[in-house]
Amino acid sequence: MAIHLNRRTMLALAGAGVVSLATPLAAQDTALRLAFIPQENPEKLLGDIEAITGWLACEIGVPVEGFVTIDHAAAVEALRNGDADISFMGALPFVLAEAEIGAVPLLSEVYRDAPSYTGRIFVRRDSGIDALADLRGRDIAFADPISESGYLYPLAEFVEAGLVEGPGQAEAFFGRIFFAGGYQQAMQAMAEGLVDAAGASQYADLLLTPQQQAEVTWIAESAPIPSHLVIARPGLDAALRDRFVDAMLRLNEPEHRNKLRYLYGPDGYVRADGAAYDGVRDMARQYGLLR
């Protein structure tokens, strides 16, 4: 990879705006700018962005630039002020971005044949914990306080079961609540016995060793959570937007599927159905994140 980007550089650049990777193409008036949300290794993401923007540029016929933002908020800000045309986005930040700047949903990621997934409450099989009520006074690790499947949706199961009164009341039910920093960390804490349960994505047990996977099970599953999506700023040229969507949908074709790994690795994309995110909007309102 030609570009070495250390973390401090990335944050500094991200704070200032963008780390831009323009795709060399004949100068044209129109270019498409894509905002990416960083992963654990931003250096790898930069390589991925180079690969996917190069392909998209050829498919769409305009230069495509990709850049990494510091977080979802920065990506939405970039959409608002026109620094970005398109952004990859989680479901929760999308509904907030929709309310705030009128962001338009374009595509939803597909995993295992569905543009949705769930959150689950995992426990060790030998823990004797069979039901959510058994977790009264016990310790639990969630992924992150703003994670849909790693906190909000799993916690809603406790509310639904009448064990937790509502958002912000969880402390009264559990012993200790930890935010481990990610699915894997939450699952590992549970598997190692540091906590009694973990709230994480339905697929999070695959992050454990095969041996550990055999030692854990789940006792509750949330309602479906619409998957992450690709959104556009309002006002983006409709024709250009359509060409982008068409190109992205071609990633579902066998000859292009290998490029999905440059895009957070979904199994594919479908056109986004805005109504599918109503549950997230409701959830955001319940947690006071959306008015």
Binding site: H4, A189, P210
Partner: protein, 626 residues
């Protein structure tokens, strides 16, 4: 969060903190190691080899580890990320002072953790605090297995401290909504737990002398207690199966005979897949015969730092697997295919074993430190391996002549192959690679491919390898020094002065490719024939030998089977695409483990009952899941 998760999942699949631990032939794919933590773990691993490969230790810090997602090595990475001084470590490496290298490398990692914790405490922005804590936690992973082995209570205390630290970073919320402030008191208390432990165990001025380099905390090492840290492979190791997976051609199967009707063969098949027949570390790492010889063929991706000089090669008589068998020679060999094994003796690259049985025993006992196998085990393994057939190839007749299906260039090459050359002692290629003898002559020849180990050495003769199936087993020669069949042709042309034109070399290469080709070289997986289904079918076939072993009350061989298959069945469940059916497979694995438990307790009635239950449940799963 699904984005972060799927990114990790699909880039690295299931993650384990270290590649170690449970007995299983299904290794867990690792989460990426940070460059300096990877270099440290490589240093520990290489530092236990004898003779110590100092060049590799230096490279561990200066170059990206194999398969790293980071484009730079640890030193360059640290240059950009850290203020920690790397000179003391580099001096220790230059001085080839093993204990000093251990001390400096350990302190460097501990200082890096401290540096990131300082950064976390000082930062105001939750995203930066979280990133620093995540990095510190990623570096702590370099010590984690040592702490867990030496002091489980401390490991738990520290694990909770990391959880508390992460929980207290605060959150920026989503687009500003739902933001929570950092809890500085909790943060500092948690940090104090971690820093206190590091100061006492990893930032000490004088480390206790280490016979074996490991991540054990210094207090434990100094205590003199015997503490076993589970063996692990260093970052950059790759013991996963080759992809695409070679097609296994078994003679009996092609004749329509069911393996479950061949209990000795089925038991041998199980042993071929069992890490239990080896000693530690191979056993603990889940290495089996099939790890190197995927489906009777090769594993072109296998790589273990310090033991492999390139993918698909391994030095099995080095310091790592069985120190008593360490020949102290850095001589990794390209893994040979076992296809057509009953025709390819003598065995070993230099044909040093006339008997497959003796060769196999040497692998188990000497190369991989296993206990002496029983005669039954040896019979079973040999019976199974003798079923390995060559890949069907419609371009070849049974007596090794090209058919009409072969390309014209190959046919021209066939003539060259059969032409005697002065440079070959008036012999042809076909003199040794005899077409109607499976393209080999069962003899060893010194063709000049082995550099003399000492002045006057006469130890360069290598067993003539078959050419069948070789289109899929690159690289070539005993050390894998030639990357393609064309390179092999060039090598002979140049070293034996064959005087071939470019076109003749191309024709000869085309011939080798036609001889080495196969109609179906790889296992074809689809939505019906999935990798899990194949594994499930194999494992239940292995288990079928209980029908023979239980009536014989053969406890030793039953336990070897149940210990292998129950663990593998559970581990393989993690590869199922039908996730909903996994619990059933875990139950099935437990059922088989129950057979083992009952046999251990000498309760044969219970063993029979569990075995009967296993069979009916396996049938039900077979029907439902597939």
């Amino acid at each position: 969060m699904i984005r972060d998760f799927m990114g990790v999942l699909l880039a690295t699949f299931a993650a384990a903190f270290v590649l170690s631990g449970p007995v299983s032939a299904t290794p867990a794919k690792e989460a990426p190691w940070l460059p300096e933590a990877a270099a440290y773990r490589l240093t520990l691993f290489l530092g236990n080899l004898a003779p110590l490969p100092w060049g590799d230790v230096e490279a561990a810090w200066s170059e990206p580890y194999r398969g790293s997602e980071f484009s730079t090595g640890a030193l360059a990475w640290l240059e950009g990320e850290s203020g920690v001084d790397t000179d003391p470590l580099l001096d220790a490496i230059a001085g080839e002072d093993r204990q000093m290298v251990f001390a400096e490398a350990t302190r460097l990692i501990a200082r890096r953790i401290e540096e990131e914790l300082d950064r976390a405490v000082a930062a105001e922005t939750p995203a930066i605090v979280q990133q620093a804590v995540r990095t510190a936690r990623g570096l702590y992973r370099a010590f984690e297995d040592g702490i867990a082995a030496a002091d489980p209570d401390a490991a738990r205390r520290l694990g909770l401290a990391w959880l508390e630290l992460n929980s207290s970073t605060g959150s920026a919320g989503v687009l500003g909504a739902g933001a929570t402030p950092a809890d500085r008191d909790t943060q500092e208390a948690a940090r104090a737990v971690i820093s206190g432990y590091l100061a006492k165990n990893y930032l000490v001025d004088d480390f206790a002398p280490r016979q074996t380099l490991s991540s054990l905390p210094d207090s434990a090492a100094a205590s003199g207690r015997a503490i076993e840290v589970p063996p692990s492979l260093p970052p950059g190791s790759d013991i996963f199966d080759q992809d695409p997976l070679p097609l296994l051609v078994l003679n009996f199967e092609e004749q329509g005979i069911d393996e479950t009707d061949l209990p000795l063969v089925a038991y041998g098949d199980m042993l071929f897949d069992s890490a239990q027949i080896f000693g530690s570390p191979a056993r603990d790492l889940g290495l089996a015969c099939s790890t190197c010889h995927n489906r009777s063929d090769v594993n072109q991706r296998l790589f273990i730092p310090g033991a492999s000089h390139q993918p698909g090669a391994i030095d099995v008589d080095g310091a790592f697997f069985n120190p008593i068998f360490n020949d102290r020679r850095d001589d990794p060999l390209d893994i040979p295919s076992l296809r057509g094994l009953r025709f390819t003796g003598p065995y070993g690259r230099d044909g040093r074993f006339a008997s497959l049985r003796n060769f196999t025993r040497n692998v188990i006992v000497n190369e991989f430190g296993g206990d002496e196998p029983t005669p039954f085990m040896m019979d079973a393994l040999v019976a199974y391996m003798l079923e390995f057939d060559f890949l069907p190839n419609s371009m070849l007749t049974p007596d090794g002549q090209l058919t009409e299906a072969a390309p014209e260039a190959a046919k021209r090459g066939e003539a060259i192959f059969n032409t005697p050359f002065a440079g070959l002692g008036d012999r042809s290629c076909a003199s040794c690679h005899i077409p109607d003898a499976n393209f080999l002559d069962r003899r060893a020849h010194d063709i000049g491919s082995v550099a003399p180990a000492y002045e006057g050495a006469r130890a360069g003769a290598m067993d003539t390898p078959t050419l069948l199936g070789t289109a899929y087993t690159a690289p070539y020669f005993h050390d894998g020094s030639l990357p393609t069949l064309a390179a092999v042709v060039d090598w002979f042309d140049e070293t034996k002065s064959l005087g071939l034109t470019g076109a003749e070399r191309a024709d000869l290469t085309a011939y080798l490719q036609a001889v080495g080709a196969a109609d179906e070289p790889y296992e074809a997986f689809d939505t019906e024939n999935t990798a899990f289904r194949l594994a499930f079918s194999e494992l239940t076939t292995f288990a079928s030998t209980l029908d023979t072993l239980l009536p014989r009350r053969d406890a030793k061989h039953i336990l070897l089977l149940t210990d292998t298959v129950a663990a593998d069945l559970a581990a393989d469940a993690s590869t199922m695409s039908n996730l909903a059916a996994r619990p059933e497979v875990y139950m099935l694995a437990e059922r088989l483990a129950e057979v083992g438990d009952a046999v251990r307790a000498d309760d044969w009635v219970a063993a029979e009952t569990s075995w009967t239950a296993f069979k009916s449940e396996a049938d039900a799963i077979e029907e439902r899941a597939f």
